[in-house]
Amino acid sequence: MLKTTLAGLRAHKLRLLLTSLAITLGVGFIAGTFVLTDTIEAGFRQKFAAAADKIDVVVLPAEDGGRERQAVGADLLEKVRGVEGVADAQGVVRGTAALIGKDGKAAGDYPTSAISIPEGRLNRTEITGGAAPRSAAEAVLDENTAKTRGFAVGDRITVLDSKNVKHEFTLVGLFDVGVDQALAYSGAVGFTTGTAMKMSGEKDFRKIDVAAAEGVTAETLRASVATALGTGAQVETGAKHAEELAAANGADTKILTLGLLLFGLVAMFVAALVIYNTFNILVAQRTREMALLRCIGATRRQVFGSIVLESAVVGLISSVLGLLTGLGLGAGALAVIGRTGLDVPTGAVALAPRTVAVGMVLGIVVTVAAALLPARAATRVAPIAALRSQVEEQTFRTGVVRVAFAGLFLLAGVGATVLGVTQDPGEAALFTVMGGGALTFLAVLILGPVLVKPLSALVGWLPGRLFGVPGRLAVDNSQRNPKRSATTTVALTIGVTLMTLISVLTATLRVTYNAKLDEQFPVDYLVASQGDQGTLPRALAEDLRARPELASVVALRAASAKIGKHGEFEVGTFTAAADFTPKAATGSFGDLKPGTAALADYVVKDLKVEVGDTIAVKTTEDGTVQLKVVATFLGENALLPEVTVPEQDFDGYFGRLGDGQIIADVKDGVAEENARRAVEAAAQPYPTAKVSSSTEIRGEFDEALDMMLMIITGLLGLAILISLLGIANTLSLSVHERTRESALLRALGLTRPQLRRMLSVEALVLGVIGALVGVALGAVFGWAATTTMTTGVVFQLPVPQVLAFVALSGLAGVVAAVLPARRAARASIVGSLASG
């Protein structure tokens, strides 16, 4: 039996290859994910280990009941230096100090980081040009910031200290930020340790790096430093600290791995459907072969075994190919990442034993599992079938059991979805809807064969009229084996459903977000301090109010304060302006008089209070004050602080703080560029004041959404590709099955192009059916999902995109039919009539 199976496989190499391709792609994607993330992780590990070489012992903030204290007291440094066996100890300073760009404004969206660069072997940073700073008048910049801001060694640079006072330095060198993603993101200025503390305003160290004297091991030194410091700090060897850093970083790559694997699993599920269908068709076609085997004495078990064995061989081969594909995909992705200039360290690209194991097991298990049902069908072939001259067409009748099961799933699915939609937005609702979606999808999967007929009649209406006889025959063919057509199209449906869902989600979120912005108040300009850190002088808002181009200017101020026993909240206020009246959900902002407060809806929930209740706010200037709640508002779409108090009260509670944000509206009829110029001019004297317009904010949001849409679409593309392989596979097997039928049609006068067209139309119908079901499911569940994410959803069906999905699916189906159709058209009529 083994020999028969293997001989059969050898005889049908092409069929084997087509079948394998689906699994190969799925396994390839999963293996590629592992290769990519493993390589990145190895790269990080290497870099961390290299950095740790220089440092023997690290003194870290003591852990304080789970809440880490952020800093190591500066006083500890002298203590450490006094410990025997310490050759050198340096405090590591890390804060912010905004670099001023050549335009006089703070550079970048976030202030640059300020770091200390010690001399000697404890210098962690790699100076790549010039020298390290040696005096209070010298500074260094990271390479990237220097390049983008146009500074070179020898230039004078201006940096703001923590009180926004300008200081000038000579740029004496450039350095590489290495694996520190935070520094790479913000950009960094390096100073001597003392200057770094002054500029950043930090009084303490992040940690203290310690170098051992000659002959002292890291572990010995760790013990003696720990003894000297007692419980005031946590002391670790450099090597262990590096490992911890690498592990923390690994947690980040884990999220990437998980996200990618999710798409990989979708692809594998689609591949399983393709394999299931392929084996089903193969078994149907080989009925006589099976029957012959049974005639000459093969048991049912042996027939079953031969199919399972065949699938195992297919699984094995495709998994091996998949691993190789994965290696290629991983390397390709790394090359792309390298080209985009992202500073991601990489080790050698390699297949970890785990990757091989997961890939092989998944590939083989999925293939064999998908082939089990077809294998069972093969055992039902009666020996007598070998003697029948004509293979009977499989007829399909809508069974009661099928409809009952589908009904149950559908009911459960719809029920869960309705439940999720009517729930308050939140994770629980989202998961309920997701469960409902999965159940409904199962119902569609079960009901597929029943749906195929009416749907193909619908979809085939136009082609049937447009393409004459070939068109009508194609539509008939697409209905003749509903089970097969359903499985083929469901594979495509999965991809299209997810794509539609994502595009509905993004379109809806986009419009909803914009609508909320508009509803709240049409903000034209937002002036905020760089990176939302620190405040802006009140004079800026005054200046803006004086500009004739602007209609209303509102300043928002906030401070952090404890409320009762509930922890810290953002307590703030807004300045009054003519056109600005915030909307209250309950109560009224008109009642916002001294001694009262308005709360965001989520704060109301947290504090378990309602309008009329009183809250206790711990202020800095006025002790704990009792405030009466007079209004609540929707927190997520208001710019207001979550606890809003009257303007005069705020100064009394927290002192005359600066403005956090200033929002400004342009007067009607003022040209966009004039208004912009006015706002920019007002902000010019304040380097950290960053101006953004609502169109910019929307643009950024749009861009982020578009990016997400693109990435997800790209990742789902794989599942779509696999389902297209499925269509090609089904068609080519159908073509094989209908060899004599095609020959008959050719004998009766169907030309080759007509025969090809017939198969193309069949593929078109299958593709469009799959897409239609997918679009319907995707749109419904896209809508359901958005209602669970936020309130006041403005549903959007991105019609052009959805139409494009349908059109592309049809087109893709036609492309998938090209090769099978060519083979069918090329076959000799005489030879085909004789076969079978």
């Binding site: 001259s389 006068g749 169907l750 030309t751 009529i829 009539l833």
Partner: protein, 256 residues
């Protein structure tokens, strides 16, 4: 070779009204040592409105001859005319159109498309060529083969005999210059076979149809006006107004 000459002379008689004519027809499969000469130079003509049977032992080349005559297979040498059209120079598209317009087919098995009803199957050749069915002719043909009450059925719901009758009707409906039938009764019991054969003969007598039938069954051949015999790719004998016995005798002589 002597026999060829003899038969050639027989065929030269009265082919003024020939529907199909073949001259010096050869067909070789494969190349070199593996070459199989299926037809070694066949001259034959088939009269219009006549029912001709082609007979011969297995491997004599009778099916190959039919395939070559019908433009289903390319010839290696010689010429074939269907009416005034020469087949040998035509490309695939022209051949296809010729089959569509001028030739009808009845095969031994698998004559019908399983997805279409009997009526749709009958009308299929006309639909493919975009012609309108002559309703009178359709009714007459359906009446002749006795399928009136079966028109809405799919092939799987018809008996073997009924399926072949649908095939006969389909071949007749487009009024082709010639119908080629390849063992049309090979899969049928004798009663259904007799039915189909009498329909074929009726269509020759009453509709003036030309039919060329390949068969190995002497009884089936006896329905024809004329039987020609092939052996080893050569035309070796001919019989006019055959009876089952005379066909059998000729075959016995050839097998010997």
């Amino acid at each position: 070779m002597t026999i060829t000459g003899e038969v050639g002379a027989w065929n030269a008689r009265g082919n003024a009204a020939s529907a199909v004519v073949a001259r010096g027809l050869t067909k070789v499969y494969g190349q070199g040592d593996a070459a199989v000469h299926a037809l070694r130079g066949v001259d034959v003509s088939f009269e219009t409105s006549a029912f001709t049977a082609i007979m011969g032992p297995s491997g004599s080349g009778k099916s190959t001859l039919m395939h070559c005559l019908a433009g289903l297979d390319a010839v290696s040498g010689g010429k074939v005319h269907i009416g005034d059209v020469e087949l040998t120079g035509l490309n695939d598209k022209q051949l296809t159109l010729l089959r569509r317009e001028r030739i009808g087919f009845i095969f031994q098995a698998f004559n019908l498309l399983p997805t279409l009803t009997a009526e749709q199957n009958i009308r299929l050749p006309l639909e493919i060529s975009g012609r309108k069915a002559d309703q009178d002719l359709f009714d007459r043909v359906v009446e002749t083969v006795g399928l009136r009450d079966r028109l809405g059925h799919k092939p799987t719901e018809l008996s073997g005999g009924q399926q072949q009758r649908v095939a006969v009707a389909r071949a007749l409906i487009s009024k082709p210059q010639v119908i080629f039938a390849d063992e049309p009764t090979g899969n049928l019991d004798s009663r259904s076979g007799a039915e189909v054969l009498s329909f074929l003969r009726t269509s020759v007598r009453e509709l003036g149809q030309t039919i060329v039938m390949v068969t190995h069954d002497p009884v089936a051949a006896s329905y024809a006006d004329r039987v020609i015999f092939l052996r080893d790719g050569l035309l070796v004998s001919e019989l006019m107004r055959p009876s089952p016995q005379s066909v059998l005798d000729t075959l016995m002589k050839l097998e010997a």
